[in-house]
Amino acid sequence: MKKIWLLLMVFLVTFSVLCLGIDNRGAEAAKAADSGKGAKATCQTCHADFAAVIPKGHPAVKGSDLTACTSCHAPDQTGKAAKNAFSSRMHLAHVAPKGNQDCLVCHTWTSGKSFGLKGVKGSFGAPNKEDVAMMKEIFASWGGSKFMDNLHAKGNIGCAGCHGKDLPKADDTVENNRCLTCHGPMDKLVKKTEPKDFKDRNPHKSHLGDIACTVCHKAHGASKVYCLDCHKKFDMKIQGEKAP
């Protein structure tokens, strides 16, 4: 099983490299999408022959659209926190900065009603125009920002890894338990950041109580050590701060 995943990784890396290499074709698909013809673009617009992009040893791939992949790699709709999810790798390869595809190359969407995958049953939610615009904006951040979302993207963790199975809403936040699935347990985290000199200056054991991880760790914006708002002299750093 592990071997298959490894092969898939190789496949996707190759796949994305190829996508970059044949930029004009990606651009064509994007152009088709921009002009409202996204629905007409298929995988084959770029990948005339899947054999050219799949790794050695991968079973032959038939078909011209997304079902060529999803017939085996069924999309994960459970929303469980998983590293290296197929969905994440597909998105990483196809959205900026590696790719430049419109959502609707792969996805079906009826504003306010449904959002799914071509050739796959079921809907992830009912985003409207603003929701989709937001997701596009956040995907761009996830794919290429210096924020925490990109740090997760580099670990092949996509939206569902943090937000669960439903499409994130505009006022969505992420509960601590979700973060602690990978970064926990809390005791261990507290121990890890305990200062040698003054143990009560531990950002993960705040005098403000059981605060949310997201107080400091922002996925789609600059992370910031909240303590420093008042304790200006503390020497604390955080990942995902905007580059100077």
Partner: protein
């Protein structure tokens, strides 16, 4: 709005006042669903903020702010059976309350500590007299009356129902004539915010963080026109929340709103440090004003005289200078000399330091180990503070002077003189009222903590009555709008006595929540 529409409104002679008075000439427009709005005074656009067509959420009572007042209101309202949401703008709950010094003025407590420790007499009347005098009689007497008579009950309410714990001592703080200041076991306001949060949540209230109020919905300023709900920004989403019974504003003061504080008190320039959390800005007051609310005394803004000099925070050591005077703490300048009667009010202590000159920052509080527990401190806090360098410890006054860089002879002279004053019961230098429980600085170890004033508390705010209802600019109650805590004005007059903030917040929060729950749906 088109230019023509603006012209039409102008031609009708609409002024801010005519709109505010109930939109007599404006009837046709309000009837089609426009909300009162003076967001941009003088601009016609200000008149056409449309009332929401639908509400995203509906609650009986909507509370703005999750500090002492907001949580007390939520506890009371939820306890009376109302559905309650608490909206907190910041990503953490508790506002300034969770980081405050945890001192609570009350003439009595569940355990009757003052009486049992032989610390003299007190009464609600005496508490009221001190509060009025300390506020230079600018206080609204009926509001002071509510606070002093509700303080003990509210303290015991948090002890009994929220498991709040107080230290077994009572201190006498600046401006108070009795030993009535209670300290929390946690040493900070978190003791009470946690108690109130647990009480509110146990009763079913819901606290939602990252939810910033961006408007108060009211159709017009007719005295019968109630507040309808709030516009709220939550993450990337803007939603409208309906309040079936009432909105309670408990959003705190505006010490961190430099523009607003300087608009009312120009000498509080940006160079002043501030003890407050970042969210202490004044937009809620402006929104309330925009729907007709009256304000009072916004220029009365207090400096905390003993903040940490570099950053301005009110950390645990910064509470000691405030709690110490009743037990003999001495304040000295860099020259090793006293500069004020330590039992003076906060404004006097703050400006006594500022008037020494900017190059005289910081000043120091000198105290000793025998005072620590009596003044509501703890040895653990002392040890932690010494390790961090906030408290400086020495076995003699001479050694202490050396460690903090003060002239040793001058400091020794000051301390010796002060010891003599305690013995003689008279302070000829600053007229401090000496009491028998004050401890001379003879037995060590001795401690010093540095201090300097920082912007701290807004005495002024929204005008309320004794039922915590917000009053409009014409003197009428604004139906279904309450305010409690620092966002409301008039309780403290020109200068709040230290440890009066918490009884103000908890008592009025309780009053507001209780009354809000009684409103008709």
């Amino acid at each position: 709005m088109t230019t023509e529409e603006k012209d039409i409104l102008a031609a009708k002679g609409l002024s801010r006042r005519s709109i505010l008075k109930g939109a007599v000439a404006f009837g046709a427009v309000t009837a089609s669903g426009f909300a009162l709005n003076m967001a941009m005074p003088g601009a016609a656009e200000a008149m056409i903020k449309k009332l929401p067509k639908k509400w995203d959420e509906t609650w009986d009572v909507v509370v703005v702010g999750s500090g002492f007042a907001g949580l007390a209101a939520a506890s009371a309202a939820a306890g009376a059976g109302s559905t309650v949401i608490v909206l907190e703008k910041m990503p953490t709950y508790g506002g300034n309350s969770i980081i405050n010094g945890g001192v609570y003025a009350s003439w009595d407590d569940k355990y009757h500590y003052r009486n049992n420790l032989g610390l003299g007499v007190d009464s609600p009347k005496q508490h009221s007299d001190d509060t009025l005098k300390g506020g230079d009689y600018y206080n609204i007497p009926e509001l002071v009356d509510v606070m002093v008579n509700g303080a003990t009950g509210a303290l015991n309410w948090m002890i009994d129902e929220g498991d709040a714990k107080i230290r077994p001592t009572v201190t006498r703080a600046g401006g108070h004539t009795a030993y009535r200041t209670h300290s929390a076991v946690a040493g900070v306001g978190r003791e009470y915010t946690e108690a109130l949060r647990k009480m509110a949540e146990k009763r079913g209230a819901k606290i939602i963080l990252n939810s910033e109020v961006t408007w108060i919905w009211r159709q017009d300023a007719d005295p019968k026109s109630p507040v309808l709900g709030l516009e709220v920004k939550r993450g990337r989403r803007v939603l409208n929340i309906k309040a079936k019974k009432a909105v309670v504003l408990a959003s705190g003061g505006f010490s961190q709103d430099i523009k607003m504080r300087m608009a009312h008190n120009p000498r509080l320039v940006p160079e002043f440090n501030c003890t407050n959390q970042k969210g202490a800005t004044g937009e809620t007051i402006r929104f309330a004003q925009a729907v007709g609310a009256d304000t009072l005394q916004l220029n009365f803004i207090q400096l905390y005289p003993f903040a940490e000099p570099e950053t301005g925070i009110l950390d645990t050591p910064a509470v000691y200078p405030f709690n110490g005077p009743g037990y003999g703490i001495v304040y000295v300048s860099k020259l090793g000399k006293r500069f004020v009667n330590e039992l003076e009010r906060r404004d006097v202590c703050a400006f006594a330091q500022i008037n020494l000159g900017a190059n005289m920052k910081p000043t120091w509080s000198i105290f000793s180990r025998p005072m620590v527990l009596k003044m509501g401190g703890s040895y653990e806090e002392i040890d932690a503070g010494v390790a961090k360098g906030r408290f400086v410890k020495a076995d003699s006054i001479n050694e202490l002077a050396g460690k903090i860089g003060l002239p040793a002879a001058a400091l020794a002279d000051t301390i010796n003189k002060h010891n003599k004053y305690l013995e003689e019961g008279k302070d000829p230098d600053f007229n401090k009222p000496i009491t028998k429980v004050m401890i001379p600085l003879i037995e060590g170890p001795f401690y010093a903590v540095s201090q300097w004033p920082a912007v701290h508390h807004c005495m002024g705010g929204l005008r309320i009555n004794r039922d915590s209802q917000v009053i409009d600019v014409f003197g009428s109650v604004i139906p279904k709008l309450y305010a409690a805590g620092e966002v409301a004005g008039g309780v403290h007059g020109s200068n709040r006595l230290g440890s009066n903030a918490m009884p103000d917040c908890v008592v009025f929060g309780r009053v507001a929540g209780t009354n809000a729950a009684k409103e008709k749906v």
